[in-house]
Each structure stands twice: as structure tokens, then as C-alpha cells.
Symmetry: C2
Subunit: 329 residues, 2 copies
């Protein structure tokens, strides 16, 4: 990204999440969320690169932070929740709903893999496999909300979801106070938007960078045009990064707080995924390896000093990572 | 193990490591050792099973704790160090020696895998590939000590090595104060012996169990006979557990402090290794999965409440774990 549009914020100042919101969310989610470790990454050619290991998080991804934050605040009258998700958010919502004794209905892509389906079924969620784009899933989920009288737990464009994801930013600042830059991937922008707000409101000197897949640059295009734009398609090996458009709220946060956004190719993402598996001995999904891929690309204007890549999730079959070797080497 | 011999301790009381030793070692190793996380294991059928993730440790295994503790105390006159190791201890010694600016010579099995050899070379160690049993490695290593005037860093039978490994016990008690039992695998017994001493001297109410591979039950046989015995062979898929005999010192500690020792089969070890990879999404080597295999076997007399399996290392090629599927399913 070289330049941002100068249009006004699409949301009011009062809609931005605040540091007190994030701090309060942190105590709210503590009972369900693991304070994940920050580990030095041996696979990085650059010294001083650390991984914030959300691959080791409850449910295998950062999504439980936002989902639990939202669901733990629902009124007692709530009959159930609906989510639409390619996997991790659905898993997080199903898990959080179960701890609250709430029914959960998750709308997933029609062609979701059997192990993703099985993982959600075993959490007691009702599944609807219907749709091939994130927009189609959203439309179907909204129908379920109306027909059942359930409440929606949106995947990213929601202040409680964002404040929940942002809690990992406070953990990074606490555990590695010398950090100079934090890099995280962008699907819908809930993780990066929340994280950036929490970090910049605490430590404006820490750089925050966003990473998108080359084939799904919705946030980058929105930033360049100064308003939320919808892609015609979003194609990348990293299924967690396949959003067609960011939210108004996540866009506003990223625009205000993030220093820069770059894209990485699928080959770069897969190389980082393999490096994490073979050298750091951790199973990280492609979306979770994108931040490390961006650091490895040397296209980020990183300051000297410790850098943290948010390894956002680990829900992938390792056979797929191994299978990617022949294609991209 | 059903019964222990009643012979006297093979070492004097003054040879046992003490809690102050372990506490002092902990501050000594802090600069090189990661305070590794304790994570709930989703792969366990039993609730409340946690992994102490030494697979995420610096050098990929707990061995750096003992090696660094020993090497950081060597006199300034020390010209270099020698180690004999199937892999993890050698890697730890090479890493610790490099931080001290010392030369390191590592004696490994003649048929060591190319990636183990490469890993050690890249740490600047000189390698000697010679020998097919742990005893042969030891003899060759002692020759190098004599001829070069270097100092030996033994793999387990040494109070500083044991006190270093024991530091992970203090971390467990601190991070999970409600722990009721800790399970760790036994190769030479340095990890379990040190750990058990530190835990029992702090919290005698916490149970400590040891696990050996069925094909390499040197510590178990020694306990049953009341003295250190040497096996004729040690065969197991878990190369970290292939010791032919425990040390006098490790034997004495295990006999004094450990509640029970059981064995697990290679099939059980590999099943646990796969469960950790596919369900917990972590690369753990077979030796590191043995403790979880023992918990899964339900042959341990575990008390109700939280149990910690020490996942002692992660240095294995995931292709080997995947390759084990067809053979043992």
C-alpha cells in the first residue's frame, strides 16, 4: 500500500473500540481463552522474530477470543446463536455457546471438508452446509436469525468481536515489552483492526502491519480507494483469508491504526507454513502463516528489533501442508 | 512396577540434588531456556490432561536446561566440551557451548539421520559418527575427552544436568498449582529423576510417574532388582528412550522420589504421537509422546484432578509420524 484515500471515517468516533473495552474484555474471556506463548521462530532468517502462538489457542485459533467475548454478554433471554464461517469462527462460536448452554447454528460452505464438519458436530452445533461465497453464507445466516429468533455472532464486523480479538495485543505488549512491530493477517479485519487499536492506544511507538493474500486483497483495495469495496472473487490457499469485503468498522480501525498493508502470494504463504512445520515444529494453517510470509518477503518496512508474527490458527490437516511441497518448490 | 528392591541407595545422601540447587539452576538457565507453556490437550479422552510443552523449548527439547546449566558453570580454562547423544542432548550441548564460545565435539550413532547431522553442523559442532549403542558412544566420547583435554557433558547421570532438567518441574508447580500428578518418560532418567526430586521436595502430595518403552525398560528392571542393571538391547521407535542402563545417580533419585513406573508399547507411543499431531496440532517426537501414551493406556494409578504429561521434545520429521499410520492402525 502506498497511499490511503482521504475520505472521512465511515463510522463515528464513538464506534471505535477503546482500551478500557479491551481490558474489560480480557477479564471476560479469561476463563475460556489461553494466554498463548510468544516463542522465538527458528525458521526465520531475520533474527528476533517471534510467533504469537494462537495456533495453540483453545479451539486452535484466535477466534475464541471474540466469540466468547460476544456470547458471554448475550442476554439471558437469548434462545441461541447463529454464525457463518469457513471453520475457525464457527468452531469458536460453537464452543462458546456450549459453555453458556446455548444452541448454536453454523452456516458453512457447501463443500466444507469432512473433518471441519465433524469437528463442529462434535461440539454440538447444528450445521447448515449451503453457499460458496462469504456473502452467500451471510445471507443464509441472516435468514436463520430471522426464522429462529436466534442472535447473530458476526465473524468480524462487531465491536465486541474486535475487542475480544484485541486482547491478544495486550498479551504481546505484556510478554514482550521490547516489541517494535506486530504483523497480522487480514481476512475481514477483525483481528488486525482490534489488535491495532489496542496496541496503538497503549504503545503508539509499536508499528502494526497487515497482510493479505494476493488473491483476496479486499482491505488493501478499500484502503486505496478510501471506502469499503467488494471484490468479485477471493481466491487463496489460505481459507481464513477469503473474505470478499472488510466490514465498515474493521476498515475504519485498520485505516486509523495500521501502519501499512502488503500482500503475499500463495507460494510465499505455503513456504512459511512448511517452515513453521519443519523448522519450528508447529502446525500452523496457511492463514496463520501469512504474517511470517510477509516478514520473510522483506517487503515490510520493519524497524530494527523484536517483531511478532501473529500465528492466528493451526486448524489444518498436516497432509495438506506436505502435499503442497511438490507443487510450489 | 509392582515392587521395589530394598537394597541401600547406591549413592550417598549428599549426592541427591536439592531444591536450592534447582532454584539456583533456574536463574542460571533463564537466559537460554524458554519458560514453556502448559496447554490443555484436546487429544486426551481423559479430561484435565495438560502438556508441558518442551517440544516448544529452545533446541526443540528439554535437554537445553541441563546442558546449559552444566556448561555455564565450567571453568574459564575449559578448552571445549564433548557429548554423546542420539540427537537432542547433542543439539543442546552444541547450542550451549556456542553461547559460551566453547568448542563442542558430539559423538553420534554411525547411522544418524542426515537432518540430525545437518542440525548439529549448523550449530558449529564437530561431529564424530561412530557407534551403534549408547555404551559405544560413551566409550568413544571418553576417549575424545582424554585425547583433547575437553570436558564431558554427560547426558543424564550428573547432578548439574539433573538439576537443570528439574527446573521444568518448578515451572509446572508454579503455572498449574492444582496439579495432582506429573508423568514423564525415562531414557537415562535425568529428566524424571531431577523433576521428581524438585516436585516431591516442594509438594509431596503431587504424584510423579515414569514411563519407559516396552523394548527399553532399563530403569524399571533396575528398580525391580534394587540395583542398576544393563539391558542387552534397547529397541523402540522412540530414539530418545533407547538407553541400555540408567545412571547410579538417576536410579537413586527415581527410586527415592517416583511413585511408579510403567511401560508403553511402540504402537501406543505412535498413537499418542499422531493424536498430538492431528488433534493438538503439535509436532512431538515419539519419546515426547510416551507420557501421554501412558495416560491414555489407563494403566497408571492417576488421582482425580489435573495431570501433566511432559512432552519432552519435538525433533522429528513429521513425514515419519505420517508414515507410521499404515503400520500400526
Amino acid at each position: 500500500m502506498t497511499r490511503r484515500g482521504e475520505a472521512r471515517d465511515p463510522v463515528a468516533d464513538s464506534s471505535f473500540i477503546t482500551l478500557p473495552d479491551v481490558r474489560e474484555s480480557r477479564s471476560k474471556v479469561a476463563e475460556a481463552v489461553i494466554h498463548t506463548p510468544i516463542l522465538p521462530l527458528r525458521s526465520s532468517a531475520r533474527a528476533g522474530v517471534y510467533g504469537k502462538c494462537e495456533n495453540l489457542q483453545n479451539t486452535g485459533a484466535f477466534k475464541i477470543r471474540g466469540a466468547y467475548n460476544k456470547i458471554s454478554r448475550l442476554p439471558a433471554s437469548c434462545a441461541g446463536v447463529v454464525a457463518y464461517s469457513s471453520g475457525n469462527h464457527g468452531r469458536a462460536v460453537a464452543t462458546a455457546a456450549r459453555t453458556r448452554g446455548l444452541r448454536a447454528c453454523v452456516v458453512m460452505y457447501g463443500n466444507s471438508s469432512p473433518d471441519k464438519v465433524q469437528a463442529l458436530r462434535s461440539l454440538g452445533a447444528e450445521l447448515i452446509l449451503d453457499g460458496s461465497t462469504s456473502e452467500a453464507l451471510r445471507v443464509r445466516a441472516e435468514r436463520e436469525v430471522r426464522e429462529r429468533g436466534f442472535m447473530m455472532v458476526p465473524p468480524f464486523n462487531d465491536p465486541q468481536i474486535m475487542a475480544g480479538q484485541a486482547t491478544l495485543g495486550l498479551e504481546i505488549l505484556e510478554d514482550l515489552p521490547g516489541v517494535k512491530a506486530i504483523v497480522a493477517a487480514i481476512g475481514g479485519g477483525g483481528l488486525l483492526g482490534g489488535l491495532a487499536a489496542a496496541v496503538k492506544e497503549s504503545r503508539p511507538d509499536v508499528k502494526v502491519f497487515g497482510v493479505q493474500a494476493e488473491g483476496a486483497p479486499g482491505m488493501l483495495h478499500s484502503l486505496l480507494q478510501g471506502k469499503v469495496v467488494t471484490l468479485e472473487k477471493a481466491e487463496t490457499v489460505a481459507d481464513g483469508l477469503r473474505a470478499l469485503r472488510p466490514g465498515e468498522l474493521t476498515f475504519a480501525h485498520v485505516r486509523r491504526y495500521v501502519d501499512d498493508v502488503i500482500t503475499v502470494s500463495d507460494a510465499e504463504i505455503l513456504a512459511a507454513t512448511r517452515a513453521l512445520l519443519f523448522t519450528d515444529r508447529m502446525v500452523v494453517e496457511p492463514a496463520g502463516a501469512a504474517a511470517l510470509a510477509a516478514i520473510a518477503s522483506e517487503r515490510l518496512p520493519l524497524p530494527p528489533g523484536p517483531v511478532v508474527a501473529v500465528l492466528s490458527g493451526g486448524n489444518v490437516d498436516v497432509r495438506i501442508i506436505l502435499g503442497s511441497e511438490d507443487q510450489t518448490r
